[in-house]
Amino acid sequence: MLSDILVYGLMNGAVYAMLAVGFSLIFGAARIINLAHTAFFMVGAYAVFYTGTSMALHPVIAIPLSILVVTLIGVVVYFVFMEPIREHETAVLIITVAVALVFQELILIVFGGHYRGVSSIVSGYISPMGIRISYQYLLTIGVVSLSLVAVWLVLMKTRLGVAIRSSAQDREIANLMGMNVANIAAATMALSVGLAAIAGVMVAPLYTLEPHMWLDPLVLVLAIVILGGLGSIKGSFVGALILAFIEVTVVFTMPGGAFLKVAIALAIMLVILVVRPEGLYGVYLEGER
């Protein structure tokens, strides 16, 4: 049981971290609470189902193609629906809900409401110390960790990363320093949706695909992001691991755990939030009190 908790906790933690970091990025750079974020994750999973299973492309082509298409969709949605009305924050919030609903309904119409599965990219498993871990899990954990490291490098070592971080700290000053904050926000949106798409593509063989699969991760991602501190990448990462392990432990150890997993994860989030109102690594920014 302990090994199950470890494997599934690490796996879910990695996926949640991926989603939460993307959510955090776009909140930081554009102050958009993108409730369609996990919908992009779902679209990524369905894209790889369509290209890989229906069009029977080789995974090496299907996966990058899916990620690219989903990222493009994200950027287009940003420019058409979010950028022009960015100052009306509540309207943007509802627009992201509407976008998520549009994705859900389009998938329902195109693919139907049945549960779908994608065959694994790699088969087989290793069993160190009697724990059975399939290669697909290892691949997912590996790709997710690599992507997270890549994002970290982009944010810390490149000009774009500096621009994203500075516009997250103070959009107006960043603008005064000659940065095109609208384009930075668009680039951040691409990065954020790209991360969600990679997560979706990688977990497609492990999860069952259905048109409502965006709702449950959304609640958890929101919890993770405020637990870690809004806009903090490190916080999202730590928060994801904490909540994923809590969730998995509850499922494996408590009777009726499947009903209670989200409730207990959220209760722990609330307790932490009462002690630290700005989350684990969050800071209140000047002028946004």
Partner: protein, 342 residues
């Protein structure tokens, strides 16, 4: 006779001068007189449910629009009241006249319980933390299916009234009265403090106002009105189910209010009365129903991001540059101070 003349003068000078007031009065009269034109069960049912949801949406606007305490878990109040009402009615056999107020009081209590730990949270943190409460309650409901009815909910509750037309009038009149009360609250001294807390809480505290008390008051008031809506809804549908606590329920209130126009109360009512019947009419489109609905919201908010009522109001009325009184857009001079409006 003198009273008649005063009434006529009031209508001419205070209502007919502003197109938005004419629209508002026409809306109320239409709702109240509609059963004279049609007794169609289906139409009355939709409008009654829309009225109940209008109370719910307006209560969200009171808390989140006016006080700025954005709540993503407003279904908590609705659901708590719904379950309290249903359990009291089913287990103890109490009539709706007693169960609905007690349900609303339970929602007020929950408002306090939620409000106290959330006092330190601000902005998105508060919104996302409140999202957690109804989901946690839903977990508890699923764990005790014997008492709360689990997935299927609690059914077999008595009707709100024996006849559909009575139910219609109870819902519509309560909606009009409660929304009027909420509107008056936001217009009062308390309402000004609510506005100020949203704009700058530290400044309000520096002015010697106990913001904690007012924030808790806002949670309680909002919980009370949402609770009445929840109780009414339970007795109307004769079922209390976990869907009343779902994330979608909370977001529906937000969608309606923002679509109609936030920080207005009447915007929330307008949003519900536009979107809810639209969604019902879209049943004709079968599987494209939710898609068309989402696209409508997407396109309308893209064009009118401040909400439909605010958009229309600014198109047909203008503010006098001198005395800040609203005037119909057709007037050449202000109706109060005769300043030039062109």
């Amino acid at each position: 006779m003198a009273v008649m003349r005063m009434a006529v003068r009031y209508i001419r000078n205070e209502i007919l001068v502003l197109p938005t007031r004419v629209i508002g009065v026409l809306f109320v009269i239409t709702l109240l007189l509609l059963p004279l034109l049609t007794q169609d069960m289906y139409i009355l049912r939709i409008l009654a449910i829309a009225s109940i949801f209008a109370i719910f949406a307006a209560s969200w606007d009171l808390l989140s629009g006016f006080v700025g305490q954005v709540s993503f878990g407003h279904a908590l109040f609705f659901g708590v009241a719904a379950y309290t009402t249903a359990l009291l009615n089913l287990r103890l056999g109490w009539s709706p006249v007693i169960t609905i107020p007690i349900g609303a009081l339970a929602a007020v209590l929950v408002g306090l319980l939620v409000g106290i730990p959330c006092l330190r949270l601000k902005g998105p943190y508060l919104g996302l933390a409140t999202l957690a409460f109804p989901i946690m309650l839903m977990g508890i409901i699923f764990v005790f299916p014997g008492f709360f009815g689990g997935e299927l909910g609690i059914s077999g509750i008595t009707r709100l009234a024996a006849l559909r037309i009575h139910e219609y009038y109870i819902s519509v009149v309560l909606m009009l009265v409660l929304c009027f009360i909420m509107w008056k609250i936001t217009d009062s001294k308390i309402g000004i403090i609510f506005h100020a807390i949203r704009e700058d809480e530290i400044a309000v505290r520096a002015s010697g106002i106990n913001t904690i008390r007012y924030k808790l008051l806002a949670f309680c008031l909002s919980g009370f009105f949402a609770g009445i809506a929840g109780g009414l809804f339970t007795h109307f549908l004769r079922i209390a189910g976990p869907s009343m606590l779902a994330v979608l329920m909370s977001f529906q209130a937000i969608i309606w209010t923002i679509f109609g126009g936030i920080v207005t109360i009447y915007g929330a009512v307008a949003g519900v009365f536009i979107l809810y019947p639209t969604l019902e009419m879209l049943r004709a489109a079968a599987e494209y129903r939710m898609l068309i609905f989402a696209l409508i919201i997407l396109l309308v908010l893209r064009v009118m991001p401040e909400g439909i009522t605010t958009f229309v109001r600014d198109k047909i009325e203008r503010e006098c540059p001198r005395c800040k009184v609203r005037n119909a857009v057709t007037r050449k001079e202000c109706r109060v101070c005769f300043a030039d409006m062109r």
